[in-house]
C-alpha cells in the first residue's frame, strides 16, 4: 500500500512538473486563439493557414507597438466546456493579451460569456449565430464574420424578385439552421406577403437522409427551396435531389453553398443555377484581394477558402485594435475595437460601436460550372452594413451593459 502511494506520488510529481509555468517571453505580444480544429477540419485548416500568413506579414512589417506578435493556438474540441478551460489556460498561463477565434455557435457564446466574466476582449471569427452580438451581446465581445441573419438577408432581394409563391425549406437541426430559417421566413414575408411555406425539413446535422428528404420536399410541389445545408449534408442533398428530379423547374437558394469549402467537393455535380452566398476567389479583382490572393498562392501553392479570409482578417483586426489602442490595456482595447476600421481582402470593414458586429460582407451569386468545377457566376458583393437590421431593432435585441 505504501509503495503504491509512493508510485502515485511519483506520477503526480511528474504531472505537477509538466503543469508548471512556461517562462513568459515579453518581447512579443501574445494573442490567444482557440478553435475546433479537429471537429471542423475542412473549414479550419485553411483558416489556420490564413492567420499564419497574417502573423508573418505583420511581423515582417515590424510587428505592432514595436513588438512581434505571436498567436498561441489551442484546439477547443468543439465543446464549450473544453473551450472555456482552454481560454482560461491561454489567459492565465500563456498571458495572452486577449482572445480570438471559435467556430461553432455554442462555443462562441460560451467563450463570449467567459470573456465578459474575465473582462477580456474576445473577437469571434466564425460563429454565425446572431445571438453573439445581439441577444447575448456583451461589452467584451466582437464578431468579424457576416452572421446568419446578414447572409440570409443578402439572399432576400433575389428571392423576392422571383415572385415564387410556394417555398419549401430544409435546414440542419440546430441553432444556425433554425435561425436562418426564421430570418428567411420573416424577411421574405415582409417583402412578399403572399408567400407560402409548404414544407419544412430539419434533418440532424451531418446525418441527412437525403433521399427521403428530397422526396418529402418534392411531394410538397414547391416553386422554390431555401436551404441552409452545408458540408456533407449539402453534398448528399444535391446528389439525391438531382437524381430524383427535385430541382427540375424549381429555384433553389442555399445559404453557404458558394463557399469553396462546401462547393468544391461537389466537383462537376455543383448544382448550376442555385442562388448562394460565397467566395469567388477566382474573380475578385479589387487590389486588396489581389494582393492577398497572390501572397496566399505563393505561400501555400493552393487557393484560399473562405476560412483563409476569416483567419487572415481576424488576425489583421486584432493587430489593428492593438495599434489603435496603443497598449494592451483591456479598456483601451475595447475602446479601440468599437468603431475600428480596417481593410480586409473583402474591402473596408467597421466593427460597429452599436453592436460590435463587423460590416464584413459576402458575395452573392449563382452557381455555374467551369472545367468540371463549381464556380459562382453573376456574383456581386454585398456590404455587410447593408444587410443589417435598423439600429433601433438592434438596440431592442441587445441588452444594455
Amino acid at each position: 500500500m505504501l509503495t503504491r502511494n509512493r508510485l502515485l506520488a511519483g506520477v503526480s510529481a511528474l504531472a505537477a512538473a509538466s503543469l508548471a509555468l512556461p517562462a513568459a517571453a515579453q518581447d512579443t505580444i501574445k494573442i490567444g486563439e482557440l478553435n475546433s480544429y479537429k471537429i471542423f477540419a475542412a473549414f479550419l485548416d485553411p483558416y489556420k493557414k490564413g492567420w499564419e500568413m497574417a502573423v508573418d506579414e505583420v511581423n515582417a512589417a515590424g510587428g505592432v507597438l514595436g513588438k512581434k506578435i505571436e498567436i498561441v493556438s489551442r484546439d477547443d474540441n468543439g465543446n464549450p466546456a473544453d473551450a472555456v478551460r482552454v481560454a482560461e489556460e491561454l489567459l492565465s498561463r500563456e498571458k495572452v493579451a486577449f482572445l480570438i477565434g471559435t467556430f461553432p455557435s455554442n462555443v462562441g457564446l460560451a467563450v463570449a460569456d467567459f470573456a465578459k466574466q474575465r473582462k477580456t476582449l474576445f473577437i469571434a471569427g466564425e460563429p454565425l449565430t446572431d445571438k453573439i452580438v445581439w441577444d447575448n451581446g456583451n461589452a467584451y465581445t466582437f464578431r468579424l464574420r457576416t452572421s446568419t441573419y446578414m447572409q440570409t438577408a443578402m439572399l432576400i432581394p433575389d428571392a423576392a424578385k422571383l415572385k415564387k409563391k410556394r417555398w419549401a425549406i430544409v435546414y440542419p437541426n440546430y441553432e444556425y439552421g433554425t435561425s436562418a430559417t426564421a430570418a428567411f421566413k420573416k424577411l421574405l414575408k415582409q417583402k412578399q406577403p403572399d408567400v407560402e411555406f409548404v414544407a419544412e425539413q430539419a434533418p440532424p446535422l451531418g446525418k441527412i437522409d437525403a433521399g427521403a428528404v428530397a422526396q418529402a420536399l418534392a411531394d410538397a410541389k414547391p416553386d422554390a427551396i431555401f436551404s441552409s445545408l452545408f458540408g456533407p449534408d449539402l453534398a448528399k442533398f444535391v446528389r439525391e435531389g438531382s437524381q430524383r428530379g427535385l430541382f427540375k423547374g424549381v429555384e433553389v437558394f442555399d445559404l453557404l453553398g458558394g463557399e469553396p469549402e462546401y462547393l468544391d467537393p461537389l466537383k462537376d455535380e455543383a448544382p448550376v443555377g442555385w442562388y448562394v452566398t460565397g467566395y469567388p476567389w477566382y474573380g475578385i479583382d479589387t487590389p486588396e484581394h489581389k494582393k492577398f490572393l497572390a501572397a496566399y498562392q505563393a505561400r501555400y501553392k493552393d487557393y484560399p477558402r473562405l476560412g483563409s479570409i476569416v483567419g487572415y482578417s481576424l488576425t489583421m483586426a486584432a493587430v489593428a485594435a492593438i495599434k489603435k489602442a496603443g497598449s494592451l490595456d483591456q479598456d483601451k482595447l475595447l475602446a479601440a475595437m468599437s468603431g475600428l476600421q480596417l481593410t480586409i481582402p473583402f474591402g473596408p470593414i467597421t466593427f460597429r460601436a452599436l453592436d460590435h458586429q463587423s460590416t464584413m460582407g459576402a458575395y452573392v451569386g449563382r452557381i455555374g460550372l467551369k472545367d468540371g468545377k463549381g464556380i459562382m457566376t453573376d456574383w456581386h458583393f454585398v456590404d455587410g452594413k447593408d444587410a443589417l437590421p435598423s439600429d433601433d431593432e438592434v438596440k431592442k435585441m441587445r441588452p444594455a451593459n
Partner: protein, 613 residues
Amino acid sequence: MTFASFVIQLLNGLAAASSLFLVSAGLSLIFGVTRIVNFAHGSLYMLGLYGAYSLIEALGRTPLGFWSAVVLAALAVGLAGVVIEVVVLRRIYRSPELFQLLATFAIVLVIKDVALAAWGPEDLVGPRAPGLSFPIEILGRGIPAYDLMLIVVGPVVLALMWLLLARTRWGALVRAATQDREMVGALGVDQARLFTSVFFVGAALAGLGGALQIPREPATLDLDLSVIADAFVVTVVGGLGSLGGAFLAAVLIGVAKAFCIGFGFSKLTLVVEFVIMGVVLVLRPYGLLGKAPATPRAIGETPPPLGPPRRWPVAAWLVLFALVPLVGDRYVTVLLTDIVCFALFAVSLHFIMGPAGMVSFGHAAYFGLGAYAGALLFKKAGLPMELALVLAPFVAGLFAVVYGWFCVRLSGVYLAMLTLAFAQISWSIVFQWDELTAGSNGLVGVWPSAWLSGKPAYYWMALALCGIGIAILWRALFSPFGYVLRAGRDSPLRAEAIGIDLRAYQWAAFVLAGTMAGLAGSIFAFSKGSIAPSSVSIAQSTDGLVMVLLGGVETLTGPVVGAAIFTWLRDLLARETDFWRAALGLMILLIVVVFPQGLVGGLAALYARWRPA
C-alpha cells in the same frame, strides 16, 4: 402523404436499411464470438468509404473499376480488422469485462487522425455508381437505380452469411462460440485463429457497408461516431449475435426514419432510433430475435475482493490537493476543478458498473441533467446559486428514478444500451427545446456567487463537495447496501434465494449514482459559466467509461486516478501536438497493453510482485 410517396419512402427506408445492416451484422458477429463491444466498428466503416474513394480514383470510374474498388476496399478493411485484433485485442482478452472497449475507443482516436493525415480534412464526394446512376421511374417518381440495388444487397448478404454460418465448419464454430465461449475453448479449437477470422469477416462487412455508400455519401471524418451509435442500436434492437435480428432491426429503423421525414416529423429522426431501442428493450429485454445469454458472467472471471480505503493516505491526498492553489497558478486550479468534477462523475459511474455490475453507456445523462438543472434553477427559477447547485443533483436523481426503474430490469450489454437510449432521448430534448434549454447553443451566464468567483475558492468548494460525494459512495460500497450490490453482481440467483430484493437495491444504486453524477455536473456547470448539450452527449458518457476503465474497474481508487490521468493527458497532448487525438489514443493503447487491469490495478499487481517476500 399519397400512396406513391408512401411507397417511395418505404423504398428509401429499405435502401438505408441495407447499409445499416451491413455494419451492424459485422458488429453483432464480433460481439457474439469475442464479447468485444467494438467501438472502432464505425471507424472501419469510415475507412471503407475512404478506401473505396481512393481505389475508384485509381481504378477508374467504370463499372469494373467501381465494383473492384468496393470489393478491394472491403477486403482491405477486413485486413485492418485483423491487424487490430492481432496487435491489440489479442493481448487483453483476459482482462476484465469491457476493458477491450477502452482499447477500441483508443483505436477510434488513432484511425481518425490517420484518416485525416492520409485523406485530408476536406469532404470527399465519390462518383455516382457507373451504370446505375440513372433514376428508375416508380409511380411517377424517380428513384436512383443504385438505391434499388442496395435494397437487394442487404438480403443477399444476409443469405450468404446464413449459408456461411449454417453450412461450414467455421460457421458451426462461430455459432458455438456465440452461445458459449468456454465451450469452444474446451473443444480444443484454436481460439486465437477463430477470433482473428471473425474479426476479418466483421471488419470486412463494415468496410463493405462503407464502400457501398460511396455513391450516396461523402467520405468525412465524422462518420465513425455517427455510424457506431446507429450500429449499436441496430445490433441491440435485433438481439446480439442474431444476424436475422440485425436485418429486421435495420429495416425497422431505416423505414421508421424515412417515414418520419415523409410525414413531416423530420426533427424526430434525431432520436427515433433510440426511442425504438428503448421500447424494444422494455418489451423484449434481449432484442427482437435475441436469446437470453446462457451464462451472463463466465466462471473464473469474478473480480477480486474490494478493500476499503485507508483513511490516512486518502486524507493526505486530500490535503495535498487542497494545497495546490496556494502554490500552483490559476490554470492548475481550473484544471484541477475539472478533474475533481470528473473524478466524482467517474466514481459514480464506477459505483454502478463495477461493484453493482450494471454498465452504463449513458451516464452523461445524469451529469448533464444535473448541470442543466443547476443552470435552469439559477437562471430561470431565480434561485440563489448555492441553492441551485445543491438542488440540481436531486433533479438528476429524479431522472435516475424513472430511467433506472426500466434499466434494472435488464442486464449486461442490454442494460448498457437502454441507459444509452435514455441518455440520447434526454440529449435530443435538451438539444431541441429552445425555449427552456436554449437548444444547441446551451445556457450561458451560469457563474458562481461572488464569494466563490475566485478560482481557488470555487476549487475548494468543488473539492469539498466532490470529496463528500466520493466519500458517500465509497462508504456505501462497504455498507450492507454496497455488499448487496456486489453480492447481486456475483450471483443474482443466490441473492434472491436469501431473500434479497435485488432489483430494489440496484434501482436505489442507480438513483444514488445518478444523483452524484448530477452533483458533479452541477459543480461543473458553474465552474464553466455555461452549459451545452455536449455535456449530455455520448462523448461525455464515453469519457466517463474511459476514465473508469483506464484507472481500473476492479479497484476502488481507479476511477479517480483514471479521471485525473485522462483529463490531464488530454489537456497536455492537445497543447503539444496537432495530432493530439492519435497521441491520446496511442497513450491509452500503451496503458492498455502494459496494464491490462487498468492503471491502479496494474500498479497494485506490480507492487505485489516486487514486494520483498
